[in-house]
Symmetry: C2
Subunit: 335 residues, 2 copies
């Protein structure tokens, strides 16, 4: 019956009138940044605000405060499972800390990346989380100059505060696993050379190979995209010639691994028997494939937590240790 009243947006003024105090008192009582007062006035104001269904107008509040409780996240695409996992982890963490995470996607295009960054900045975000860093990228540098709080995740430019997985260690675990299984003819399919993750995972693999006395000729290293398609192509070129075929492949990303597996199937090879494959990130799908995929699990939640920590104060580069998850796609080398 009192529909009109329902539709009216409740402001501080309404709460003040209803509780018989001034607007500023209400504002202070309802300020969530300071420890809540236990005075009777405060109690009453809170109760009235609740009854009336008061909700702070973020625009007015943000305009006045400067800060907005919003952090902007930039990812290449959300349809990349790794990025979706990363964003969800950031969103969860932000929410737990009382912030809201908004995301923008920009593909792999640096120009689009800048545009998206400005869009996010236009929305007065308190800080920026970038999962898009290229080693040759100038965006982080320009953010540093402009004094924009930001942190890089998953990939770094080597300078800005970054929350990463320990890709070198992960690469080492994956390669070491294959070496331990007796493989000596091993290929590595890694991601785009402009990402620190691709380089570091390869570097870690090289270390394991050196330890195990395994050669890694250049022809056995393919740097490509991070999509399934790329893995498919790489797998085909590695597996087509039966004579030079490796017995194991480390794909520096689960998508790449899935592509490699598809190529192996197409070549009539059974993964886990004829050829071993290790992926990276351990996306949920990895364990649910027809042949469950051995992978290196990235600690997304830990990375998200570090990232938000680094947004607060200036900090260095952190690296969360990953874990090898062995499954059926890797097996001991048939002698």
């Amino acid at each position: 019956m009192d529909e009109e009243q329902e539709r009216h947006v409740v402001t501080l003024k309404d709460v003040a009138a209803a509780s018989g105090v001034s607007i500023s008192t209400v504002s202070r009582v309802l300020d969530d940044r300071t420890p809540p007062s236990r005075s009777s006035t405060a109690e009453k104001v809170r109760r009235v605000a609740d009854e009336l269904g008061y909700r702070r107008n973020m625009f007015a509040s943000g305009l006045r405060r400067g800060a907005t409780g919003t952090i902007g996240v930039l990812v290449p695409r959300l349809t990349d499972h790794v990025m979706a996992l990363m964003f969800e982890a950031i969103e969860r963490t932000a929410r737990a800390r009382g912030s809201f995470a908004v995301v923008a996607t920009c593909g792999d295009d640096p120009a689009e990346e800048r545009r998206a960054t400005e869009t996010l900045l236009d929305r007065n975000v308190d800080g920026l989380v970038l999962a898009t860093a290229r080693l040759d990228d100038t965006l982080p540098a320009s953010l540093r100059e402009r004094g924009v709080p930001h942190v890089l995740v998953l990939r770094t430019d080597g300078v800005s505060p970054s929350a990463l997985g320990d890709d070198e260690a992960g690469g080492y675990f994956a390669a070491r696993h294959l070496v331990d299984l007796g493989h000596r003819e091993i290929a590595v399919v890694t991601g785009p050379w402009f990402t620190s993750s691709a380089r570091d995972r390869l570097a870690g693999a090289r270390r394991a190979f050196a330890e195990g006395g395994v050669e890694l000729p250049d022809a056995r290293v393919i740097s490509t995209g991070y999509g399934i398609e790329s893995g498919h192509l790489a797998g085909r070129s590695l597996l087509e010639d039966a004579a030079s075929r490796p017995t194991a492949i480390f794909a520096a990303n689960d998508n790449l691994a899935i592509g490699v597996v598809a190529a192996a199937s197409a070549a009539g090879l059974t993964v886990g028997r004829d050829v071993s494959v290790v992926g990276y990130n351990d996306i949920p799908l990895a364990g649910m494939l027809p042949v469950p995929l051995t992978s290196v699990r990235t600690a997304f939640d830990q990375i998200a937590a570090s990232a938000l920590d680094l947004l607060g104060g200036p900090g260095p580069i952190t690296r969360a240790l990953p874990t090898l998850i062995p499954r059926a796609s890797t097996a001991a080398l048939a002698r």
Copy 2:
């Protein structure tokens, strides 16, 4: 050298001062909602604004205008590929129309759904796009009462404006495909019974079966979640008994299909030879599996466009026609 100047945020006042006109003139010239004036003053103001690097303060603007150019999107989770595809389509469409899409995730929990809705509303979004509708859900009804502009996508409650795929038709296409291939022992694994998509896809399948004179006993219908895991379980229970085993399975979602395929592999069956499997949505992964998956392609972009149209004026329920994409996972019944 003029770092200080760089750090200062440029406001309308600055632009006004620099161009020798009043603030309101600048405001009007820079108003992107009206056709841009070609007068010399306007030209000059635009140039100055550009040089100074003016960017509208969305908070101040939003506070004054009421509208914010932001639409809120609610999905269960972004790690569900279907939802990631849907959101990306909405984001693209929104951007093309000059809006910005923000997303919140809420799992499958109605309470969380309400919380997330309020969070989005608190951010003064101009409208809400919900991909979370349950048939028994009261949220759309409450949004209708409160007069909040909203549209449902992919799933409907049957009342609020909705932009859907034509799930009945899609279910028909999938089942008809199997019938045409000669299968008569067919099972259907569909999604949660509280989603319109699960019910409609099953209804479409039933129509195809009826047309083809194929029986669908209750034991051959499994309603479950929309995750890979659910598909795996359903597949196992359908395929474990060789005597009663169906020769084909329609999974009303690619995740379910992937789970079914994994179960088939585990049971020593080769998909496409021993058992045919059809999925739904045609996520990019579907075509890249070891055995490429036959699927029904959902027109996400078309759905996104309809959704934003419906947000404008009140409208009915639209259904975008899907397309069957036949691949190697389905084959003619070996006689």
